[in-house]
């Protein structure tokens, strides 16, 4: 929430700076832009840059770092996506050859199907369980207990991801795993199996990690959204005779659409990018039934030395992520504006 608020004033401010003549704000007394004849303007700008050199010097460390570690690798990835490249001596231009090869790569195509399944499942989960948990915590009348629940559902976030995955590995473990032990207790021992090693079920086992999905970022984001709803609005709905259920669907949900939109973006980006979970849990196996594009990119680069091909996969993932983010921003409704009501 903080950021939405924080983004607002700075954007507004950015606009107002352009309108206000440069001499007005804070430090500016000495650096008024020369507004004389056009040929003087260039000189004035240069003089202005020189005069403000302190600013550029202070920004230098930040920009040096991002140019070396962010801009250069990104440009290099896009550039090398049209090369056959082993990262060292072999570098041959092959146009769209890598992209054509991607379409004919059965492992990659299988991994794309897995990615779509994982992303859709993750979306379905993130739009229901945490939303419900957030709404329930919001509806508690006892605010002290509501705070306690909130803290409680944050704690799992500070357990290192790899420890959480280690615990899930022990839940799915073949012989003494928690899930199998539980099934035996329940008299269902015959369906016990090595879950992560099962060709049909491994992907579902991965999807189920994190069950019941209420502790985490999404719950916090929804809760923050609900808490930002002005209470007059909720009171008004109640006075108008809206029951809890009706109020939830017709007042609260439209007012947290921005949060829902955010969760959709975060979930999609997360699904596209995250392959460490798969890597640690199954490493794409058994066979390649749980392969995802990110892991396949990693393997092509690190095991097979096909750096160009890996860059092409990265470029494709980048393009798809950008497109989906754009579509989401463009077509998913934001929160209903309540200021005008």
């Amino acid at each position: 929430m903080e950021l939405v608020v924080a983004g607002g004033p700075s954007a507004r401010e950015g606009r107002s700076f352009r309108k206000v003549p440069t001499g007005v704000g804070g430090q500016m007394a000495q650096s008024t832009v020369a507004s004389g004849a056009p040929k003087e303007r260039g000189v004035g700008l240069l003089r202005n840059i020189l005069r403000r050199k302190e600013a550029y010097l202070l920004l230098f460390p930040s920009f040096a770092l991002v140019f070396i570690f962010n801009y250069y690798p990104a440009a290099s990835a896009l550039f090398h996506s049209v090369f056959e490249w082993n990262g060292a001596n072999v570098q041959r231009f092959i146009g769209l050859g890598n992209f054509a090869a991607m379409l004919k790569d059965p492992t990659l195509m299988g991994s794309v199907v897995n990615l779509i399944r994982l992303a859709l499942f993750s979306l379905a989960v993130n739009l229901t369980f945490p939303l419900l948990a957030g709404a329930l915590i919001f509806h508690l009348r006892d605010l002290r207990l509501a705070y306690i629940y909130r803290v409680l559902f944050v704690i799992p976030l500070v357990v290192p991801t790899m420890v959480v995955l280690g615990i899930w590995k022990s839940i799915y473990a073949p012989h003494i795993g928690l899930l199998n032990a539980l099934l035996k207790v329940a008299g269902l021992g015959h369906i016990a199996r090595p879950w992560l090693g099962d060709f049909r079920l491994a992907l579902y086992a991965i999807m189920f990690i994190g069950f019941p999905w209420v502790a985490g970022m999404s719950t916090l984001i929804y809760l923050a959204g609900f808490q930002a709803i002005p209470s007059e609005l909720l009171d008004a709905a109640s006075i108008d005779g809206a029951g809890t259920w009706k109020r939830f669907w017709q007042v609260e949900i439209p007012l947290v659409m921005s949060q829902i939109k955010l969760i959709v973006i975060l979930t999609v980006i997360g699904a596209m990018q995250n392959f460490s979970t798969i890597m640690v849990m199954t490493n794409g196996g058994p066979g390649t039934v749980t392969m995802v594009p990110g892991l396949w990119l990693y393997r092509n680069a690190m095991y097979y030395n096909k750096m160009g091909y890996a860059c092409a996969i990265g470029t494709a993932l980048f393009a798809v992520t950008l497109t989906l983010t754009y579509l989401n921003m463009r077509y998913l409704r934001s929160s209903v504006e309540y200021t005008g009501i």
């Binding site: 004033p9 962010n70 009348r141 976030l157 357990v159 790899m162 992520t321």
Partner: protein
Amino acid sequence: MSKTLKHDLPIHVFLIFAAILTFYPFFFMAMTSFKATPDFQHNFWGLPQWIQLSNYSDAWMRIRGYVVNSLVVSTTSAAGVLCIGSISAFVFARFHFPGREVLFLMLLALLMIPGILTLVPAFLLVKNLGLMNTYGALILPYIAGGQIFAIFIMRSFFASLPEELFESARIDGAHTFHLYSKICLPLSKPILVTIAIMNILSTWNDYIWPLVTIADGRLWTVSVGIVSFGSQYMGTESWGPMYAGYVLASLPLIVLFIFTMRYFIAGLTSGAIKA
């Protein structure tokens, strides 16, 4: 029964059920971490028959290096992000100079570039710079990447500080550095803490980058080390030491959480808007 409790009761039932499902695996981990192997084999679900503290000393011997490495890497990176990021944010917020908006957008645009795109060239870069198997391979890219979002947040915060404060200090003859260190930073403590925590959390959890840049097991961070550590026990039935290792690997972040809970929750909620 009070009216509040009557209204809340069905909600409590649901939330407590969800909390039990969420926390049982963690509880099982903590409980089993104190069990000796035979106790674990014959008494899978029950509480430990006796407390096997040697699980912890065994696990600690094996993972303490990873914890130390992570502490060094994560705190140095967070300090770097705060240092470099706050200076840039200060410049963007309180200076006026040609190209300010363009430069700022150049930083902001990087938020759209996914790590997966830059992974391979960044790996080759670090290799060519001779940084492989050094802390620098982690710290430098962590500062470079971490500062972007930090600058974005800090800039709006610094810009919202009242201009009069700076103006009066300037009249008193204060130098730029003085404005930054004596006015800007002290007023921004909560946001600085939030950014530090978010950074520590994300670098502590990073797995792929240390995996590709650090081959020397002695320099592994907790994320990489604990996976390797856990996999050595997975096939065996001595889960006590394994879980003890997991608990020890989690403790630093949990301690951090206890001391900074307020900032943590605010930070996580605002940090989510990264995309």
